[in-house]
Symmetry: D2
Subunit: 350 residues, 4 copies
């Protein structure tokens, strides 16, 4: 009966990207949830840990050691860095596709990976064939990919925000690109840590990772590839007292030729067929809540008149377009499903 | 093409219950949104006011005076009290069903209505035939109703929380029933008021309406009807710094016969076929976020051992099961649709 | 120069009650901060952990093993339960007074202590002479006390809320006293735990400890003592998404004689000379933010007309009057200082 | 007895800067609160509107028309733009000093004022002698000033953040200075508006004023004066779901000579005698809560190594150093009081 549904496994189902995959996949019309693993919680019904899933997910967490992931069509890794690369070989051998929501397959340069993630890369050959999973940039490669490195949350905002300019050579690289990004606290994950306690992070905000954030090299590598030239990139992330939501304010110096064209039209044209990229009308200032719970990303352009700079404001839900939603969008493409299958979620406002 | 879809009109689409109806109806498989009125915003595309609806709702607000509501199959009133009763007669004459999310059709006793809402009731005859719209209590009458008085948010929690006890005579009415209820700020509506500004209501809480809240007579009337006897009822609502969510803690003195039966089993049996009522396992303490954005209501029972009292903890999303979701559930029943159509929304957690 | 200042030590300065003691004592005119211990952070300047104290506290955390607490006049324990009782004997022998903000000296019945705190009580003789530190109830004993059991946060609201009624025999004990209490998340302490992460506890609320909370026996014992009779007490605490603030809604059945007197006047008279207890005008509904950061507690009375019940609404800052502020108030009394010394803090609103 | 205290009047005491002045002045040792006016609330005790002030402020609001402000030594205007300039002449004639917390005396160029505030400037002669009230920049002029234009909240962060660089010629003006600023919602004032309702602005964030914010010309004018040259300035403010707190992330291109000196030392030296400016240790990332309720401003420097840019992170409480606290600091200087009188408030953390 469910035989023509895609069998999905999730490794590491107890964090925020894991439960978000479950929220979305539970009602995906073409998916059959087959296994959800958790080392620490094996045997516990998933809905006992996340009562929001009562009535939607009947599975229990299974032990990673014994879960029959090879019977899946695709396995999502919602795990710490390093797990996916340790299991990818075996899954691929069993003809199971892999979508990693951690960083194992995001950075083609293994030296950079090892510098930032403090571990050797155990399968550089698989990495070579992995596809960086932003559908709006790499759709064709994703169609035939066996392994997806699902992007970090921040990179998705910066890359989709800048792609039209980069593709058309509209940026003057004599000045650095500056991304001042802001994230809700769920971006820090579901780990017991003092810094992200309610009483520590509510009614307050801060910058962090200014000396170096792991998404900097990831963004820098992709920007360079899009620009087909080297460039300088400054990235300052901030922690904001909201659960979900990410907003990047991006400052770029426009190239001379940018001043003679209609940038708003350029963006609208570039993304006109993209279901999940919304170029906002001129003058808009998108709120993060306008995408809460959805796979939408919204972009607004603001010319800083006299300075020759353009300011971009980009919002997304860090757990959806910034993680689980984009991963499912990738899955849909890999399996020839409608790209929006299971992702027709109206944002929750208020 | 859309001919066999239900044509839906919404009067008053700019408040929170209005936009919540839109969020849910926009992807309801059996509904065609036909008209959304707003006196103040006529002509403005709905998605300009609520960018969360971009790509989902293409309608513009129309002028209430000229909107052709008579062409609808059903009209929801997401308006202040008094509007629905002024238009119900004409709509019914045109064979349009009416679901009022305000109080016009909640209180059968017009004297009580007039005392609490400070206006005369203009159509007591229609009121007589109106049905109080809690499907789990009044499903049969809803099936054939032309007019639904959709319950207040607080009443839904208290009534579904107590119904099994009241139906089975398990409460000792020598003590008052006490409901200590807590609501997120969206319950106060989308009106510009100082008291519900972020800087006033964040990081703080208060009781309100202790001297008399409009939901007190509504709950009291329904409790009395369920109990088939008079009873005393104390109700203290509180304002909590969260957007959505409602939790009622209810204290009742158990009747002697209650001590000999399994109340947990009583509840599980009473609600076993109810899709939207979840009796939690023994010992559970439901969080409001476990129902965020969904039509679910969750109930947990806690015996206060030595005292002979039972404490009930009931949670719902005040805008969904407490308003728009329940209204759509009522609509589904009135039109013979699957009761959960358009309401299969997994709660948003985190 | 500072020779006539009181030398103060704090054991366990890294939790919320510890940093709150530091905030208040740093500018207390009659106090010299002498030692702050922390097993885990010995050597670290206090202001490195809490930059809010930069310029106000120059001390570093010292090792509990080597800190010369015997040179202090008084030592506050802002530690987990069990620490104060292990050190009290030695301090008392050195003529150092002890104020414990944990539970070691709150419960005179050691069997009850051991049941709820799962550890034997190691110094019952000291306990016998310890004073329960609510100045408005026990001021005379506090003056000469060597050891103070500083009350739990919830008990302070319930006991000061009910004391005037209990002292005057105004409660009908045929019904249980019900306290429905709500606390900000800082009440859970500064421990790395998933349940109190921002993304878990923001924009949501829940009841907890319904099956049994440690403050139940503490409150019950004190209520019984004030009432001079046994009574039944139901206590349901709730976790609210705010940093600080506690609100207890208390429901009591009035005795017959209560109906013939002016309860508002009774309260105003009882507390007329109490600097930190504010009986609000008739009809008031205090917000927790009205006491944010201050040692104030505010009480409002609401008659539930027909039912014979009185509802009390009591607010305090759980970290101040509910913990550190009350501890300092006790210290002031013990050392003959003006009771409000160092506690003249205007609440932070907004 | 109070004869040698400074008599203070406040015009417009019902907004957030007004109540913040009251919070701080209520316990200022050298101040006697003499009059607080409010057109709308004349006759109402101040503490009825703001119960946080019960026991601290006994005054009632008085009618602006009849309040004897001429008997004051200084009058603060916590009013909308335009009020102070309409009353300044008469007060100065009566030898009363004026501190305006609105914009009437901030912009020396009346054409710029009129463009941004849409009203003519009614007393340009007084403006000429008004002093821009940042003590750390203009202390000498403040000492003898009769009229202070108290700075906007954003400008204080940007100007104190950049002053050491500008004074020493350390910025390369071939690139624009970029200030990406974030403010808590109290910055929007205590006006009933939909956009700042809790349910609109909680758990979400947005940029605003990108097309032009009134603080842009104010900051630009002061930057130009400090730089002694023209320069380009990009300013993007954001609204953050917190009550208080402001964080500005500032990006500047360093001049060649900046690379040979120790910028951290430059800052520490520049501000070494400034009680309210805290240059954080190298590597620090200040949180807004570390200044909550206090007059402190904290600055951290971060070199963006390869790019030749410096990133500054500056935090303050927008209502204190960004408004009322700085106004009192100015008053202290004008009257020869200790500069920190009444401002020794330890930040409220957590």
């Amino acid at each position: 009966m469910a035989s023509n549904k895609i069998k999905v496994g999730i490794v590491g189902g107890t964090g925020y990207t894991g439960v978000e995959l479950l929220r979305l996949l539970a009602i995906h019309p073409d998916v059959e949830l087959t296994a959800i693993t958790s080392r620490g919680e094996a045997g516990m019904p998933v809905a006992d840990m996340f009562p929001s899933l009562r009535g939607y997910v009947d599975l229990a967490f299974s032990d990673p050691a014994t879960a029959n992931l090879n019977a899946c069509d695709v396995v999502f890794f919602a795990t710490p860095h390093g797990v996916a690369m340790s299991q990818a070989q075996a899954l691929l051998a069993a003809n199971v596709k892999v979508i990693d929501l951690a960083a194992d397959f995001r950075l083609q340069d293994t030296a950079v990976f090892e510098k930032w993630y403090k571990m050797p890369h155990s399968c550089p050959d698989i990495l070579t064939n992995a596809v960086y999973g932003i559908p709006e940039l790499n759709r064709e490669q994703i169609k035939s990919a066996q392994v997806i490195g699902n992007p970090g949350c921040y990179p998705t905002t910066v890359l989709l925000g800048l792609a039209p300019l980069l593709e058309q050579g509209m940026i003057d690289f004599s000045a650095p690109i500056i991304a001042d990004s802001k994230s809700g606290v769920s971006g820090a994950g579901r780990k017991a840590e003092v810094a992200t306690l309610f009483a520590e992070s509510s009614d307050s905000m801060k910058a962090y990772g200014v000396a170096g954030h792991r998404h900097h090299p990831e963004i820098h590598a992709q920007l360079t590839q899009l620009a087909k030239t080297d460039l300088q990139f400054i990235f300052v992330p901030h922690l904001i007292p909201m659960i979900r939501g990410m907003l990047s304010t991006i400052y770029v110096k426009l190239a001379a030729q940018a001043k003679t064209i209609d940038l708003q039209a350029l963006y609208e044209q570039r993304y006109q067929h993209e279901r999940f990229v919304d170029v906002m009308p001129v003058g808009s200032l998108p709120e993060t809540r306008s995408v809460r719970g959805s796979n939408q990303i919204r972009i607004a352009l603001h010319n800083q008149a006299d300075t020759g700079y353009l300011t971009l404001v980009v919002v997304q839900d860090n757990l959806v377009k910034g993680a689980a939603g984009q991963a499912i969008q990738n899955m849909n493409i890999m399996f020839g499903l409608p790209e929006a299958a299971g992702l027709q979620v109206v944002p929750l406002l208020p």
